[in-house]
Each structure stands twice: as C-alpha cells, then as structure tokens.
Subunit: 159 residues, 2 copies
DNA sequence: TATTGTTATACTCTATAACTATA
DNA sequence: TATAGTTATAGAGTATAACAATA
C-alpha cells in the first residue's frame, strides 16, 4: 500500500535531516541556525530590514534582535540610506562574509555527500522536482544562489 | 551550468518550505513545532525519555522542559515503569492524541497539496529518492508512519 | 560506578504591544 | 497617516553543569 501519504512523511523527515545537518555545521562555525540563515541571505548583497522580515518569515522585533546579536559579534553592519533616513540596510562585514562563505561551502559539501550514493540521473530528477516545488510555492532564496537576482515581495518601486 | 551545487540549495529551501508550513499548522492547533514533533513521535506508542532524546536530537534537560510544558497542558502523561523505577515513559492523553491526529492529518494534507501539481510519476520518484536518503542517513521516524516499528538506537534489551 | 531524570542557570529565538522618527 | 525600526516584555527552546535516585 504505497499510497502517497508517504510523500508527506518523506518531506518532513528529509527536512529534519537537513535541519540537523545545518545545525551541526552552524555549531562548527559558532553560529545559531537563525544567524547563519540571515547571513546566507545577505551573503551576496545587502538587504533592508523589511525585506529580510519577508524572506525569513520573522516579525520586525525578532529581526532587530537577531541583527543586534550578529552585529555585536562584528559579523554584519547596519548601513543607512540616503533616500529614506528611516531605512536600514544590513550588510556583512569582511569577517562576516568570510565566515558565511565557509559555512555555505560546508553545508553544500555535506548535503552533496548525503545524495552522493544516488545515481546521477536520480539526483538530477530530484533536484528538478524540488525546484519545481520551490518555485511554485515561491520559497525565498534563503540559501543564496548568486545567480538568482533575489525575489523581493516588498518590491513596490519607491512610494 | 546546472552543476549539482543546485541540489544543496534545493534541499535547504525545500526544508525551509516544510518548516514554514509545519509551523503554520502548529499555530492553528496552538502547538509549538517542538511540541508537535514530540507528540507525533509518541502518537502511536509511548516512549522513554532517553529514547526521545535520541530521536529528537535533544539533550536531557531540554526534553524535560518540553515534556513539562506539554504535560502542564494535559496533552501527555509521564508514566512509570515496573522494571526500572528511574525510567519514565511518555504517553499522550486522549485529548493529546486527538490533537496530534488532527495536526498530523492537516500537515499531511498540506504537504500533499504542495506536490499536487506534479505528475504522478514524478511524485513517486521523488518519494522514492527521499526515502532512499532518509534510510541511508538513518533519519528517525519523527513523523509517525504507524507501519514503521520505530527504530530505537537505544535498543539494548535490558541486557 | 553508570544511568535516568531533574534542577539551576543562561542565552537565543520569536511574538505582541507600544514607541520614535521619518515620509 | 502610514511606514521603518526599535524598545519592552514574556515565553518557548535548548545547552552545560550539578544533583538525586536507582541499577
């Protein structure tokens, strides 16, 4: 009875595996998962607080605290804008960027190991299906692929 | 350049999607993700604290607190054993079981919706690949499929 | 002595409500 | 008035260290 109820359990358990592995790598870099996630999001470009709020699915105050803690460790900076003096752009410091690149590479490496036992065809097909889901569901680019220009749901060109 | 770096991002973002959806359903049932996860693990059978610690990847004190909070809400009970008076078995109360079943069904339903747009063949193949990964990596059955007898890493038959 | 849990403590994460400054 | 962020507050989650009871 291989009905498709199994696909839900597969997704939940796969997610559990990824989270666990992600957290392990975080530990090695002395980051919390939330910190690492934010840092990956701004890895290749600074972002505004509100935009980050949407990408990470957090409320404003939660993000403020998260940014505070990372900033306190010298891994990112808050920069101000000339157009809107209320707005804040969050950018990695050189040291933050360094750590993020290393973290990113290690997660990537670990996840590749996890699928390494699969035939190349299966890997390709799995990736295609996963991306089909991700795109359909508009999952934000929280694990930075530099290629993707960043979809910002906030987009509303000034005013 | 569709190199296989993409599969890591796919896994991380897919995991993010699942977590987000999981958290949303949690909210509707007034549960935290950690609480729901524990409840799903003991949905079909009571478990010992140490065993839960392994399945959920928590330290003992964290689990104690988690169990405390769920117990305080009347959704589970700590039961004692006759063999070992130190040991505690954690079991759902009828009300806890009710809530867990509803939660479980809703998550399952939501995740099925997420893959509904895919051809049946792709769904099957995706599920197969996911399970291949899960089994290879020994991911615990944290989203209870009653069929699976529960792999307990603690297993050491009294001695 | 080793194991099962718990208590004490500390920090991160995150939400809601209320506030400040700017638009 | 609406928007961008922050501050205040509270509770959940989780780790480490120290402790209690039982094996």
């Amino acid at each position: 009875m291989a009905d498709n109820r199994g696909i839900s359990a597969a997704l939940v358990r796969l997610s559990f595996l990824v989270q666990r592995l992600y957290a392990q790598v975080c530990g090695r870099h002395d980051l919390s998962p939330a910190q690492a996630q934010l840092m990956c999001v701004i890895k290749d470009q600074p972002r505004g607080m509100t935009e980050l709020t949407h990408m990470l699915g957090l409320e404003r105050p939660g993000l403020t605290g998260l940014v505070d803690r990372i900033e306190r460790r010298g891994l990112l900076r808050r920069e101000t804008t000339r157009h809107d003096r209320r707005a804040v752009m969050v950018a990695l410091t050189p040291r933050g960027k360094e750590i993020t690149e290393a973290f990113f590479a290690e997660v990537t490496d670990n996840l590749q190991r996890v699928v390494a036992h699969l035939p190349a065809d299966d890997q390709r097909q799995f990736e295609d299906t996963a991306f089909s889901i991700i795109l359909t569901e508009h999952v934000p680019a929280i694990f930075g692929d530099p290629e993707a220009p960043a979809a910002d749901p906030t987009r509303q060109e000034s005013q």
